[in-house]
Symmetry: C2
Subunit: 339 residues, 2 copies
Amino acid sequence: MDKSVAVIGGGVAGIETAATLSNLGYKVMLFEKEKELGGNVLGWDRLFPTRRPAHEVVSNSLATLNSTCEIHTSTTVNSIDENNGIFNIGVISGQHFEANAVVLSTGFELFPAEKKEEYGYGIFENVITSRDLEQMFRKHGKPTMVNGNTPKRVAFIHCVGSRDEKVNRPYCSKVCCVTAVKQALEVKEALPDTEVFNFYMDLRMFGHGYEQLYKEAQMHGVTFVRGRLSETNEATGGGLVIKVEDTLAGKPMRLTVDLVVLMVGMNPRPETDTILNSLGLPKNEDGFAAVKDVHLDFTKTKTKGVFIAGACTGPNNITDSINAARAAAIQVHSYLNPQ
Amino acid sequence: MDKSVAVIGGGVAGIETAATLSNLGYKVMLFEKEKELGGNVLGWDRLFPTRRPAHEVVSNSLATLNSTCEIHTSTTVNSIDENNGIFNIGVISGQHFEANAVVLSTGFELFPAEKKEEYGYGIFENVITSRDLEQMFRKHGKPTMVNGNTPKRVAFIHCVGSRDEKVNRPYCSKVCCVTAVKQALEVKEALPDTEVFNFYMDLRMFGHGYEQLYKEAQMHGVTFVRGRLSETNEATGGGLVIKVEDTLAGKPMRLTVDLVVLMVGMNPRPETDTILNSLGLPKNEDGFAAVKDVHLDFTKTKTKGVFIAGACTGPNNITDSINAARAAAIQVHSYLNPQ
């Protein structure tokens, strides 16, 4: 088979799409702007709901990549044009590549926590993001404060850059609740004497194994408070004071803690916008790439020959991104081999 | 190609799997126990989040079914054995069919609302299920009481047979919150003078377009109360009295309404159990079919040659079921054509 496919973005969705298509015999070019394949999963230590090591998912996926697949890392795609069914893919260095079909799998980026200035990220050193916490788990197996001490009280703040019209992110990021519950449980397991609080709006534990994780966290003594953070400040004797409106008790709550973990949401990437603009493709209300049909064709775009998979279409978990990648791959195959 | 695949269950996942595989040239046999293909979607009037007609999704899917696909409706599969890579599929009539691969897409059934006796389904005639309401919308374009009157107050009860250990359903059914919000909005649109209340535990509006629907419902005057129904009774002057613990206000609440809509969850089907037992395949903690790998192989089972897609693996929306169906199809293709 001499037909070629360009896959833009080498996170789990892109790797899976490239693997599936290269194993079907297509000439696949996989473009990744970072030095390494793997995407956002590389920043994680362990994955919900099973808490398996994140690197396992990436390495298992990479192991299925056929050796014929051309991998272009450190390569940012900045234009795609179509002419008579041939796509011309331009990258930042000025090089061009040709392909018979394109799959967009450019993923997401984490909400920049400093945009919620009142939450104190970038101002107070013991205010960290969910990703920072994963890094701590990977390096030390537990969270630590900047001075090296063990935190005695940790607060997880859900919905940072999600369900928040003030920062123009009205949508739910889908995976932060279950990530927060997983991380809260992991803190309790690593530091049983540490008090752990989760401040949430709605606990969205909707997937297989999520409710069990929530129950396990409660059994380990994690405290769940329905309420939204209004601000973080420095406490007089050290530590951080957080002000939360407890919407169950109906009153404001103040709590002094040692570590604040902000559960940052998923944002569309500006690099995706560049590509969508170049192809004349629309975005949806949330700023992610619009799909052809939300029920029947979630892995097609409005342009023939341009397919799409993973979190560039909106917040997604790994399972659904991998299923979408395979769905996109079979649609590419049908497109290139009409019956 | 002379290889054959048996697809068990003709809801949206099964139709999509059969369509994809028959279009790839496989001999596909699609088994459906009901008289008609379409599954649970047939019971619905309109679908979240776009509120498109449900029949459109089924008919669009059916239109992609290749004419070579053998359709066996009114046919319940009750055994599958494997011998040297050939699967022998037995159906209730005693007939047998042979296939090189099997896809299980047996779907779910709705929680039987009468099991929550205290909620009054089957006891009070104006206590209905979410599916009953869809039928009313389809027939009359609006909800009506049994005496033909227009309800002046409607209460939606979330999590009926979900997140409820008392009825052995600890898991979230994933789609009932957004369905309830959609239906509440539809009631308000059809009957603007009717008061509409939604009693929820957590509002799990996690998908694309869900939060917008929630906002729209609030703008139309739907009242959302965080609380769980304890019981339904007949009011002295007619109507229904519901007792709810309002967990935001922290006090019990009594409300007289004309119509109670129970948002019934998704249950595993006993027919799936029969097939899993026959293949020696395990179930997961929630009683649905266990998958090979929750991250990497959600559409494979532990038995080589047996694949799986859709809500028989757990609660799922249509988009994800269709993506899973396509993912299963490509995995069947790779299995039958090893490179």
